[in-house]
Amino acid sequence: MPKSAVEKQPVDYAKAPINAKLSSEDKLGLLRQMLRIRRFEQTALKFYNVGKMGGFLHVYIGQEAIATGTTSLMGDDDHVITAYRDHGHALAVGMGMNECMAELYGKATGCSKGKGGSMHFFAPDKNYWGGHGIVGGQTPLGLGLAYGIKYKGLKGAALCFLGDGAVNQGCFYESLNMAALFELPVIYIIENNKYSMGTSLQRSSVIDKCLAQRAEAFQIEWAQANGENLYEVRAVTQKAIERAHKESKPMVLEFDTYRYYGHSVADAKHKGGYREEEEIERYKKEHDPLRLFKSILISEKVLSEEQYEAIDAEAKTEASESAKFADESPVPSVESIFDDVYFEVDRQTEAGRTGRFFFND
């Protein structure tokens, strides 16, 4: 468990070149981004609970500094892919609240036309490749993004996020070996929030220092850091991205973090069940990435309470407006069920008009 970062660490990481060069504007932008994620999800939760959405809702709240910090470093040829807890990464790469909220509502205006849902946000135009529901299944895809980057001779990196439970899917190790063997610029980022559903890290994985250290088995560099401190996240990730760009080498990062809500909304046991309410409260009080960054910016005189309130109010308004947008958006037609299955059919190319593709009599 990370020691509270409030006392000491900011000092150092704020000085890291990648953070030192941030303008006040930039810093406020990063704060705004984290606030947007939190308010978006709180709004989503509210409307999920009144039945506006179906399926699962995996909330990212508590982990905002990781998606925000890592993706803030992305250049044109850097790409991102993650698992089903994907709202934070989606907003962080620049997706709009409207298309994201509409996706949760299952509307035709959603980022995936209401076909993917909470677990399957995508925005290729923002180098964001989802949003994947099968635990660990995205890790070979991340490898492939890195392969594509290298094949095309670009200086880029693929950031592939996974959870502390996902590390026990075999394809992750297959991917690590191939990343090392082919020297691919993939950065696996383990968001260690201590639990995979109701199972604590200790009950699912046998480790020495941390999960990222397993990378040693494949001669891959790794680092573990405190995921609640945005400066720290940026500083640590920047090194990995530089390495990927300069040497085309993979790396595994692990960020300590915590999710305040249940695994998904359905998760009743997360309070007083598999984890103590006291633990949750402690994290909220002592390890909240937003509080921390806010206090840092205030101490840096970059932010005032008033400004904070203003930014927060903005985020809240944007979120509730996105809910209104989603609510008023049309649902997909039943006919549209057959769209987006085959590229050639969608485009009605020669290939798409040859032979039968769908088999309901």
Partner: protein, 324 residues
């Protein structure tokens, strides 16, 4: 008789078999301390402890293979896949190790395991979580596939599956877990390979498995009240072994068939049943066999639409009226 939920009927089956046979062990993600993602194993870990109810890491290939290996030494693992969709990451262990090792050993080995969990669409969890693999797995000689529609059948079939000496793929349904039905206090078993005629009629045969049987029953009521058409509703219950006699019997009785199947149409279970009727009861047919399957696309998330991707009473009625 007690009126209980589908999930609790299964829970009773596990409890009874755990007490009956020391070799029965439940394993899977969150089945123990968390009581199961869908509470199907609720209270069993508390009651029977770490040895009989085991939480596993998210390593389906390893824990299903582990169950197969342990079963070769006489254990009877009952392994939960939180969703049957996750069989895709353990497919080799299921198909080749559970399914083929008996054959390749010339019958020296048998694999008395049950792999179980929900296999259904309709819950807005998206395409990756909504697979219905009964056709994939029933196509493999060496595996058995079961898919009960209510708690009574689920309990009786699960107890039989656990005692069966071959690998049984037991397919449940998250949309059914909460449905209640009467379940006897006394122990009972339901054999695999025996279909159940859930409604009697003489004009048309509606044949399905799992939740599609409920949809067929709803359609049958409307057909009776609004169209004066009386339907036989045959619940296959088990897909392999298959109760061929029951199928031929209802076909010989009504001469008209509509198959209802919540899985996809291409090479689906409904295609096999249609083919079987073609092969063995062609002359009994007064009309071509019709099918009502899930619309042939990946599962759409949109809650407003997905329920229409699955078979509905309306679509069944439409098909029936085409041939009656």
């Amino acid at each position: 008789m007690a009126l209980i939920e589908y999930r609790d009927a299964l829970n009773q089956a596990f409890a009874e078999e755990i007490e009956r046979d020391p070799n029965v062990v439940l394993m899977g993600e969150e089945v123990a301390q968390y009581d199961g993602a869908y509470k199907v194993t609720k209270g069993l870990w508390k009651k029977y402890g770490d040895k009989r109810v085991v939480d596993t890491p998210i390593s389906e290939a390893a824990f299903i293979g582990m169950g197969v290996g342990a079963s070769m030494l006489g254990l009877r693992p009952v392994i939960e896949l939180m969703f049957w969709s996750f069989a895709t990451v353990a497919y080799d262990q299921i198909v080749n190790n559970a399914g083929q090792v008996r054959y390749m050993s010339g019958g020296l080995i048998n694999v008395p395991i049950v792999i179980r969990g929900p296999a259904n669409g309709g819950t807005n969890v998206g395409a990756t979580h909504s697979h219905t693999p009964e056709n994939w797995l029933a196509s493999i000689p060496g595996l058995k596939v079961v898919s009960p529609v209510n708690g009574y059948d689920a309990k009786g079939l699960m107890k039989t599956a656990i005692r069966d000496n071959d690998p049984v793929m037991f397919m449940e349904n998250t949309l059914l877990y909460g449905e209640k039905c009467e379940v006897p206090e006394d122990e009972y078993l339901i054999p695999l390979g025996v279909a159940d005629l859930k409604r009697e009629g003489s004009d048309v045969s509606l044949i399905g498995h799992g939740r599609s049987v409920n949809t067929a029953l709803k359609a049958a009521e409307i057909l009776a009240s609004e169209h004066g058409i009386e339907a036989d509703v045959l619940d296959l219950r088990s897909i392999r072994p298959l109760d061929q006699e029951a199928i031929l019997k209802t076909v010989a009785k009504t001469h008209r068939v509509v198959l209802v199947d919540e899985s996809k149409p291409f090479c689906g279970v409904s295609a096999q049943i249609s083919t079987l009727i073609m092969e063995l009861a062609f002359d009994e047919l007064d009309a071509p066999v019709r099918r009502v399957c899930t619309l042939d696309a990946p599962a759409i998330y949109s809650p407003a639409v997905e329920h229409l991707q699955l078979p509905t009473p309306d679509r069944i009625i439409e098909k029936v009226l085409e041939i009656c």
